[in-house]
Symmetry: C2
Subunit: 333 residues, 2 copies
Amino acid sequence: MNLEAVAKRARVSTATVSRVLNNLDVVKPATRARVMKAVADLNYYPNLNARSLAGGKNRTLGMIASNLENPFFFDVFRTLEADAHARGYELVAANTGYNPEQLLNSVRLMIGRRVGGLAVIVSEMEPDLILELERSNIPVVFYDVGIVKPKISNIRVNYRRGIEEVVKYLHGLGHRKLAFIGHHSTLGPTSEREKTFTDTAPSYEGTEYRTVVNQDGPDGGREAARELLDSGYRPTAIICVNDFMALGVLRELRERGMRVPEDVSVTGFDDITLAEYCYPALTTVHIPRDRIGHLVFEALTADSDRASATGHEVVVEPELVVRQSTAPAGVPQ
Amino acid sequence: MNLEAVAKRARVSTATVSRVLNNLDVVKPATRARVMKAVADLNYYPNLNARSLAGGKNRTLGMIASNLENPFFFDVFRTLEADAHARGYELVAANTGYNPEQLLNSVRLMIGRRVGGLAVIVSEMEPDLILELERSNIPVVFYDVGIVKPKISNIRVNYRRGIEEVVKYLHGLGHRKLAFIGHHSTLGPTSEREKTFTDTAPSYEGTEYRTVVNQDGPDGGREAARELLDSGYRPTAIICVNDFMALGVLRELRERGMRVPEDVSVTGFDDITLAEYCYPALTTVHIPRDRIGHLVFEALTADSDRASATGHEVVVEPELVVRQSTAPAGVPQ
DNA sequence: TTGAAAGCGGTACCAG
DNA sequence: CTGGTACCGCTTTCAA
């Protein structure tokens, strides 16, 4: 089923069918109607591969995420997709599972597809990546990779401030024995959070801390908490790199009979919906994922002449959200 | 950057470059090496659109899901993707948000892309869908749509048995006032669960029940629980259509000061990872999502001559998993 | 307003 | 083992 079949049935040329299908309003209404009918009769749908090959354009955007299972990434995906659909774009997503090799793979695939724009929302990184992306000449937006080059935009979240607020808040509650639970990632948001933590914690006198990492997700969080507690260290507050991992921490604590927040306070990061649904509801730092999604879409579809030509950077400010998983530190043991 | 550029640089024809890129081992090692070098030098990546246009083949599979945010769908996606990658396929996903219109859209898009196979894992349905899919001549696998046609496979879960076991189990615990919380969907798995419930419940003497539906997800679950309880009805056990919604039910109960499972028992369905992480851990029905993912992949890539040519059906058996959210019914109020 | 035809970047068949 | 070349299905001048 192709253009020619439709053309034949409508007694016009393929060029005209193409015009109708692309809404080039130069076609005589009568002709247009005839074509439309043929299209409907034949149940015809254009071959998108041929279309983007011939047109050199592509109304398909790509998004590569580290872990779509983590609601943080998914929420960005969701709003990006909504924006895309609203403006007649399509979005294809790829998951790297924090695997740098897979990241490179996905990027090449997206380039191979000649997507109209590519959002790289990942925590891991690959050296060759930036270079290849630059050469590809595709509009790209990174999330939290500190590189701004022509055609490459950047959206960052002020993690530093987020973590600082958490530490300050906990310190204000009297917590002096802290722990940080993070996840593996070569570079990017995560390590920035961790680094900020190890930078900040010591600035408060008399504060002890320890750090442990594991994979992203409830399982990883639980495992990390287990390792932390098995070491004998007894923090009064545990700061998690994100809410998704905090879920696992809460569980481990619960199973050990440690009460939250009476015995130990726990904080997350991101403010995913689940943060409100777990028990106890999680004190966390809100990151406006919908705003990020919108920004990504804009950056990807901006006129290549202006902003994107230079590559711009936007910083998003996070905000502390206090719920039930934190409380004043108890009497030191 | 195209084949010709590479060919020129390697001093061979485009045909040879193509052979090298496709591992047709008829190329002399020396030549192959030269081509490889040119490819590397030029940082060349084949245009996938052109490739599938010319080749008529497509190593890209598609998966359409109702709600990728629901871990059930995501888990299927994950294993399908893993299988695909392992065998050199790619997977593009689309989300319908339970919207039939969006479903049709996505299907057309996938057909437009001429994907090599399409998995339709959704709860909603569109009349035109089956027809269009059939004409497309693309291998298709449905999840729980009771239609088997040539080239269309079907994977079903024996929901009926799952629900029956839940009801029987709860009845054994003495529960006589039940409630079912489901989500909207025109047809498919969900309504089958609900139907099974309304079929089964009355078969136990003295059993009362009520049903309420809302959107999928914790928010919807919470809202449904709210509506249920606001009506004045006081079930001793609430059966949720899936774990994702049960999360919200647990929260609403908690906020109303109703203890689970002392005051009311709650069950989920699917056995997502989160079911173990919520509080209390959820009694649910396990569905082997990895197995489903594998089955989907197989069905999509099976030799079109055999099985898929006829279209086959596989039934997966679920299994009750008892955790902490259920207990014997207390004294009637 | 419409048609003819030249690509877009590959693949695959046919020679050599 | 390698090159020439006819498409794949659609977009886009260029003419008419």
